[in-house]
């Protein structure tokens, strides 16, 4: 086990990781955000969704280091008396969950379609690519809005609360599959011409088996890089949708919702309600993006 | 012997890696006289292409010349600043690389590329330069040169493209041409044509040629002398007849034996002589003679001390088996 860890440490990837201060900081920050979000129930000083624990008298308190602030509410409170720090941590949970789930969704659909299009080619390839082209002519936000809107109309009112997050994941997921499909399609087309695929055909393997056992592992490299960067953009998309009021339900606020709520109070002087969630969002997205950048450069054999 | 055009002494090319410095070319010395064709032969990883790249100043970083000297017509060129080296390249040293597809810019006609090179290095005005380019194309065997000079590289076939590349290498009248695997990507029938062309041009223009290849057959046809490289070192260098017909170094012997030859009774399918093992990686070169673990004639000294190329007949051999080393 020690030997394996030692080898991992020495590996090219780990080497480039260790020697890039920006990446190290980005990784730490991401870890901190994810850790904070994951362990929110234990780490957060308060539970902002426990209506019983809210005290309206504590509403609109400024951050602890300012006059009128209190150490119990480090970053201040919002108009309902909720601790901003705790709300950020809980909100980040939602943001990360939605971000990760929608990326997973996009990845699965995109990779599968890309593989099929690239390897099988022909009419199927043309069809998939045309659908992709059509979708690309719409901005992702618009597509997400569209799906969300349709869902709201199509589904009964009662279930909308519980369905909201899955619908959101679906919406963002569907808006993002194209980039995976295109990359994987390109890789699949390249790998298809390589002799190890021909060898597998000569051995007698079926096309489906070849696609998943042989081609897929070789096409996944760029997918991981795209996914990492896509998480950041999915979080932003969700934040935007929540900001617009069509994302997560108000009972489960994400960072975007918090920013929206805080927006109303911006000009009356209670800036902390919008600023801190905003900073949290930026830090989270930036660190994930930087990690993705590092991964892309580290995995690029030409740059090594 | 006429004064050497190119003289390489104890050339050392290193690659710093995070696991240590690798010597890809280690203590290589040779010279080429005007009008002479020196073949540099070796298998992949032997360092022959890097030697050529070092001479012409096209070593890719982090590779660098870490020792020795390179003299062109008496003048040192291994430590020149980029700008001076760039002017020497093209004007006094021409290069022909393996892949004609990437040697020519696909976006310009061959005429434009030839004229640009001539104008840059020979300071002729455009019309004279164009006339010279047409003459060169005819010389390398391109028919209808007057029309074809305005064609793009993709309009030529592989063999024709390589001829254009040779014309490009020669257009500034260089004293030395470095050809790195010029015929490897070509069909056998075209190879023969290109080899004959190189030979003729070297003779007629008095150009020295350094012909880098892994193909002994091409060397036999074209070169006057041949240098054999192994694991970055020079193991044998001498007149072509001597090295090919009476090789001294056990690696050269093994190499010649493993080359398939058409002989009487081809159907008898005689097994080829083979050398056991493989060329060592740069980070695992054995102590003493680099070839010793694979050598059928090794003895104690071979694993301890590294032999230098010393005289044996008209050649130089780096092997403890030969009398010059017994002293």
């Amino acid at each position: 086990m020690r030997a394996a860890l030692g080898r991992l440490w020495q590996h090219d990837l780990a080497y480039s990781f260790r020697h890039s201060p920006v990446t190290l900081v980005a990784a730490l920050l991401t870890l901190a955000c994810v850790g904070g979000a994951l362990f929110a129930p234990w780490l957060a000083p308060h539970d902002p969704f426990d209506l019983a624990s809210l005290n309206l008298l504590d509403a609109l308190k400024p951050p602890a280091w300012m006059k009128g602030g209190s150490p119990a509410y480090l970053l201040g409170t919002d108009d309902q008396g909720r601790d901003v720090l705790s709300t950020i941590m809980y909100g980040a949970r939602i943001s990360l969950a939605v971000g990760a789930a929608s990326v997973l969704f996009s990845m699965v659909i995109g990779v599968a379609l890309g593989l099929v299009a690239g390897y099988l080619g022909g009419a199927l390839d043309a069809l998939i690519m045309r659908v992709a082209d059509v979708q690309l002519s719409f901005p992702a936000i618009l597509i997400a809005l569209l799906i969300d809107g349709v869902a709201r109309v199509a589904l009964p009112r009662a279930s909308q609360e519980s369905i909201a997050i899955p619908v959101l994941v679906l919406a963002i997921g569907v808006s993002g599959w194209v980039q995976y499909a295109r990359t994987v399609r390109g890789s699949a087309m390249v790998e298809k011409g390589k002799e190890y695929v021909q060898a597998a055909r000569v051995i007698g393997r079926r096309p489906l088996a070849i696609m998943f056992a042989h081609v897929l592992p070789n096409a996944m490299g760029p997918v991981l890089v795209i996914a990492t960067i896509h998480v950041a953009s999915a979080i932003i998309t969700e934040a935007t949708l929540s900001f617009l009021g069509v994302g997560v339900p108000p009972t489960q606020p994400s960072l975007g919702t918090l920013i929206r709520i805080g927006n109303d109070f911006l000009f009356s002087g209670e800036w902390w309600i919008t600023l801190f969630p905003g900073i949290a969002l930026i830090v989270l997205v930036l660190s994930v993006n930087l990690l993705g950048d590092w991964l892309r450069d580290a995995l690029n054999p030409k740059l090594r | 012997m006429s004064a050497a055009l190119l003289e390489v002494r104890e050339l050392r090319v290193e690659f710093p890696t995070r696991r240590g410095t690798l010597a890809a070319v280690d203590g290589v010395s040779f010279s080429i006289a005007p009008g002479e064709v020196l073949g540099v032969v070796g298998e992949s990883g032997a360092g022959k292409s890097l030697t050529g790249a070092a001479i012409i100043g096209l070593l890719e970083p982090p590779g660098r010349i870490a020792g020795g000297e390179i003299r062109l017509e008496g003048e040192r060129i291994d430590k020149l600043p980029h700008e001076r080296m760039r002017r020497i390249r093209g004007r006094r040293i021409g290069a022909v690389f393996q892949d004609p597809l990437t040697s020519l810019n696909p976006l310009y006609t061959i005429g434009q590329q030839l004229v640009e090179t001539i104008v840059t290095h020979l300071e002729l005005e455009r019309r004279a330069a164009r006339a010279r380019a047409v003459a060169l194309l005819r010389e390398v065997g391109i028919t209808a040169a007057e029309q074809r000079i305005d064609h793009y590289p993709h309009q030529f076939s592989g063999g024709m493209r390589q001829r254009v590349v040779i014309a490009l290498a020669l257009c500034a009248e260089p004293r030395l041409v470095i050809a790195d695997e010029p015929t490897t990507a070509l069909d056998v029938s075209i190879q023969a044509q290109i080899i004959a062309l190189l030979k003729r041009l070297a003779r007629e223009h008095g150009t020295a040629v350094m012909l880098i290849t892994h193909d002994m057959g091409v060397i036999a046809e074209t070169a006057h002398r041949v240098a054999v490289m192994y694991a970055g070192r020079l193991v044998e260098i001498g007149p072509v007849r001597e090295v090919i017909h009476a090789p001294r170094h056990p690696y050269t012997v093994g190499l010649m034996g493993s080359i398939p030859k058409i002989r009487a009774g081809g159907g008898a399918r005689t097994p080829l002589a083979q050398i056991e093992g493989a060329m060592p990686r740069l980070n695992a070169i054995p102590a003493g003679c680099a070839f010793n673990p694979r050598c059928p004639r090794r003895f104690a000294r071979c694993a301890l001390e590294r032999p230098e190329p010393l005289a044996a007949g008209a050649s130089r051999v780096a092997c403890w088996l030969y009398p010059a080393h017994a002293a």
């Binding site: 190890y196 000569v202 | 024709m160 069909d187 057959g217 046809e221 058409i262 097994p271």
Partner: protein
């Protein structure tokens, strides 16, 4: 070398393959350009006898690699028949499938012919698993034995392809091909990408394995010298056509077709005998616009009016087959090949 009357293991009859290299439909419709068909292989008829090594030689674009791929089923033929032990491989029935299992292929590029993400043991075991020959411990045992048989160590099974050199990777490819217990191996330029000393090792290995396992080889190569060391019979291809088929000894001693003579002449003379060489003319024409009549006639020193009009058919000349009007009309003098001692 197998006896004269040995049964044919593989028979190709009038094999042909066209590739559609037309511009995309939209371009063609707008520019009114015709469909373009590349005749990569045309009217190839030959047989490979059990236990022999049949070499198919020619320069790039002659169609030899396409023939290899047609035989193993990577492309369907456009014309003609492929028979393995009398079974028509184009039939989609169980007999054809069974026949297919008895042939395997070794590829040219040692760096692209092994999946870089698979361990060596999975690479070599793939045919064993797919053909259902063994599983679990038995499969692992066979992999170890195969690796030893090709000159590698059983421990190499746990490594990845990139940890090996070109020659070692070809050995792994050979082990993979052998693991399916084939009778017939199609070898597509198996040593062209290797250094000359490594090539010698691999060729010797392949010859030894053939003897040990009673294999039949179809050996594709552009290198006549290599072929002279491994082949029993040789077929020469030019621009998709088979121009000469002969026993190896005969081909090298008395080449008949002008292209064969030209090929042999073009090989650099290591002996430096100073033999005068006939200047080689021209280049292989564009396969999309092949010359009329005999494909070789523009480059042939013996071509006449008939050659420019009428494509020659392979006809027997002694024990060889030659597709050349000049040879058939007796216009060509006897050739002296490379075996003149």
């Amino acid at each position: 070398m197998p006896p004269e009357g040995a049964p044919a293991l593989l028979r190709l009859v009038g094999l042909g393959r066209d590739f559609d290299v037309s511009r995309p439909w939209l371009n063609r419709a707008l520019e009114r350009a015709p469909r373009q068909l590349l005749r990569a292989v045309d009217e190839v008829t030959l047989e490979v006898r059990r236990g022999e090594t049949f070499a198919l030689v020619g320069e790039s674009g002659c169609g030899k690699s396409t023939v290899a791929r047609l035989i193993v089923g990577l492309h369907p033929p456009s014309r003609g028949r492929i028979e393995f032990e009398g079974v028509d491989l184009a039939a989609a029935d169980a007999a054809a499938r069974r026949a297919r299992r008895r042939m395997q292929m070794i590829f040219q590029d040692p760096y692209a012919s092994l999946n870089p993400r698979w361990r060596v043991r999975d690479v070599v075991a793939e045919p064993i698993r797919v053909l259902g020959l063994a599983s679990g411990a038995e499969a692992r045992r066979r992999v170890a034995a195969l690796l030893r048989q090709v000159g590698l160590a059983p421990e190499d099974a746990d490594k990845y392809p990139h940890e090996f050199s070109g020659g070692q990777r070809q050995r792994i490819s050979i082990a993979r091909a052998l693991s399916g217990k084939p009778d017939f191996l199609v070898c597509d330029e198996p040593t062209s990408a290797l250094d000359v000393s490594v090539q010698a090792q691999i060729l010797n290995l392949m010859t030894a394995l053939q003897r040990e396992l009673g294999l039949t080889y179809l050996f594709i190569s552009h290198n006549l010298a290599v072929v002279s060391h491994v082949a029993d019979r040789v077929g020469v291809m030019y621009l998709g056509h088979l121009v000469e088929v002969a026993d190896a000894e005969e081909l090298f001693a008395r080449p008949r077709h002008p292209y064969t003579r030209m090929l042999l002449d073009a090989i650099p003379d290591l002996e430096m005998s100073g033999k005068p060489r006939t200047p080689v003319a021209g280049e292989v024409p564009n396969p999309l616009a092949p010359p009329a009549g005999c494909a070789f006639h523009p480059r042939c020193p013996h071509a006449d009016a008939r050659c420019a009009r009428e494509p020659p058919r392979p006809l027997p000349d002694g024990a060889s087959l030659v597709a050349c009007h000049a040879v058939q009309e007796g216009r060509l003098g006897a050739a002296r090949g490379r075996s003149a001692a």
